[in-house]
């Protein structure tokens, strides 16, 4: 039963990707279009580039930047989100400014960030943060604002205030929505990692992809994009594991009905 279950999950996880890869293979294998090279060529490059030295040189630094940026965003997003979600006046006051910042394209923002944070890893992490905080922040604000009235009243009557209230009621109540934000932030972070590395970088996955693109090394570029997707998939799988642990109560609550019904 358990083995069967496991096999089924593997089948579900791999079925569609396998089909899509097959489709890509078949439609591209005779491609002469320069920008859509045959998949075998791309895979060949994949093996040559990423399974060899470039992994340590480019992928690892990128991942370090990404994870740092993600964690910083998570902390800022949740902290600020809680503050804004709990205080309506604060939220209304800050919202226009935040919306203004949110609408600025990272491509435009990057030079400004370079001015402020220089051109080292700090700037690249800042670029990631500049995009990643928003989904976390918005979801946290909304999650905090949606807390149940009766639960808030319960906290107030039992003198559960400030820190304790935050920890035992506000955050757990908003947790499902914060999780949505974090999941968004993860993939946005990857995207911004690429954008950040388009400027003033000397290594990194994003840097490599952009270099390939500019030097017309198209199969190499596609192989980098595939790697990006694989990293995204791996990170999100990791995220799911953590989420299942932290949100166990919630998933149990929501799913007990579905499973039994």
């Amino acid at each position: 039963m358990n083995i069967l279950n496991f096999l089924r999950r593997v089948l579900y996880a791999l079925g569609l990707p396998a089909a899509l890869v097959a489709l890509w293979w078949v439609t591209s294998v005779n491609s002469t279009s320069y920008y859509f090279p045959p998949l075998p060529d791309v895979l060949d490059q994949f093996g040559r580039l990423w399974l060899a030295g470039r992994f340590a040189d480019d992928v690892v630094p990128s991942l370090v930047r990404l994870l740092t940026g993600f964690l910083v965003s998570a902390v800022i997003g949740v902290a600020l989100g809680v503050a804004l979600g709990l205080t309506d006046v604060l939220r209304r006051g800050a919202e226009p400014v935040l919306e203004f910042l949110r609408a600025l394209p990272p491509t435009v923002l990057v030079p400004v960030i370079a001015i402020v944070a220089g051109i080292g890893d700090g700037a690249k992490i800042l670029v990631i943060v500049s995009g990643c905080v928003w989904p976390v922040l918005l979801n946290t604000v909304e999650g905090v604002r949606a807390a149940d009235d009766v639960m808030i009243d319960t906290c107030r009557t039992y003198g559960i205030t400030r820190g304790a209230r935050l920890r035992h009621m506000v955050l757990p109540a908003a947790a499902p929505q914060i999780a949505a934000g974090l999941r968004q932030a993860l993939s946005i972070g990857l995207i911004l990692m690429v954008i950040g590395e388009m400027f003033a970088a000397t290594n990194g996955l994003g840097f490599s992809i952009v270099q390939f693109q500019r030097t017309f090394a198209i199969p190499q570029m596609w192989s980098g994009i595939i790697l990006l997707g694989l990293i995204g998939f791996a990170l999100s799988a990791l995220f799911t594991v953590v989420e299942k642990r932290v949100l166990g109560w919630y998933l149990g609550l929501r799913e007990s009905q579905k499973r039994n019904g």
Partner: protein, 266 residues
């Protein structure tokens, strides 16, 4: 005895989404320290609203609420509330034990003491072995008992309960009634208890306040002269009990009929 809770000219109007409801018209009463008062009244009379004003959760539109002589502006310390919406007042991300433990942690009780209180209160409501379950794994009545256990373990000075036994069976209800009364007697907790069960009101309280339909006022204030030592079988079968029950029942009927003063009032 001094007044623990005193309500003067309380008025509460809800205004939201284009609807304006005067839930409480004008209520004035007071409850002495250590008194056990039951509140009855028709559905929608404003009992919950009243309790929320007492608990400092709602700001009255007019009038004032004093607790121990001090105006209530926010939830005062040493007060426990059992909400009518018991299901929503439990934290689904905490187990039953953790739910009961949380307010105790806020009181900064030592760990051993907290453990004892939690275990005792769970035992008292008959849920000794449900401590590690999550609230959503429990039946309605069990959830309600967890909410009661939480209030009991808190050992408050003032206890507000909003139909706390609505979801439990007759037998459990009797047990819980005796539990609340014995707690009240041993700890001297000032208790306000909202119920729809007239027998329960008479059995539990030292006093029963009958509210009118909204806009609410106090229709009748019935002192319950029964002896402090009460018992589910004998107390309920006395003629004094029957008389009191009849009086409260008439009050409720008046309230339902929309009358503003009770024929039964003294």
């Amino acid at each position: 005895m001094t007044d623990m809770v005193s309500v003067k000219g309380l008025n509460k109007v809800y205004e939201s989404a284009g609807r304006r409801v005067e839930a409480i018209g004008d209520i004035t009463f007071s409850v002495a320290r250590g008194e056990f008062a039951c509140i009855v009244g028709p559905s929608g009379a404003g009992k919950t609203t009243l309790l929320k004003c007492l608990a400092g959760l709602l700001t009255p539109t007019a009038g004032e609420v004093l607790l121990d002589g001090v105006p209530v502006t926010g939830p005062p310390p040493g007060m426990a509330v059992v909400f009518q919406e018991y299901g929503r007042s439990l934290f689904p991300w905490k187990t039953v034990r953790q739910n009961i433990d949380l307010p105790l942690r806020q009181k900064k009780l030592p760990r051993a003491e907290r453990d004892r209180l939690v275990t005792d209160s769970l035992g008292a409501v008959g849920l000794a072995d449900a401590g590690d379950a999550y609230p959503w794994q429990l039946s309605g009545g069990m959830q309600q008992r967890v909410a009661i256990a939480r209030a009991v373990a808190y050992e408050p000075q003032v206890l507000l309960m909003d139909e706390p036994f609505a979801a439990v069976d007759a037998q459990t209800r009797a047990d819980l009634e005796d539990l609340v009364r014995s707690l009240w007697r041993s700890l001297g907790i000032t208790t306000l208890f909202v119920t729809h069960d007239i027998d329960e009101a008479v059995y539990l309280g030292e006093r029963v306040l009958v509210l009118s339909a909204s806009p609410t006022c106090v229709l009748d204030d019935v002192p319950i002269g029964l002896p402090a030592e009460r018992d589910q079988v004998t107390s309920r079968s006395t003629s004094a009990f029957a008389e009191l029950r009849t009086r409260v029942h008439r009050g409720i009927q008046d309230a339902k009929a929309g009358r503003r003063t009770s024929g039964a009032a003294a």
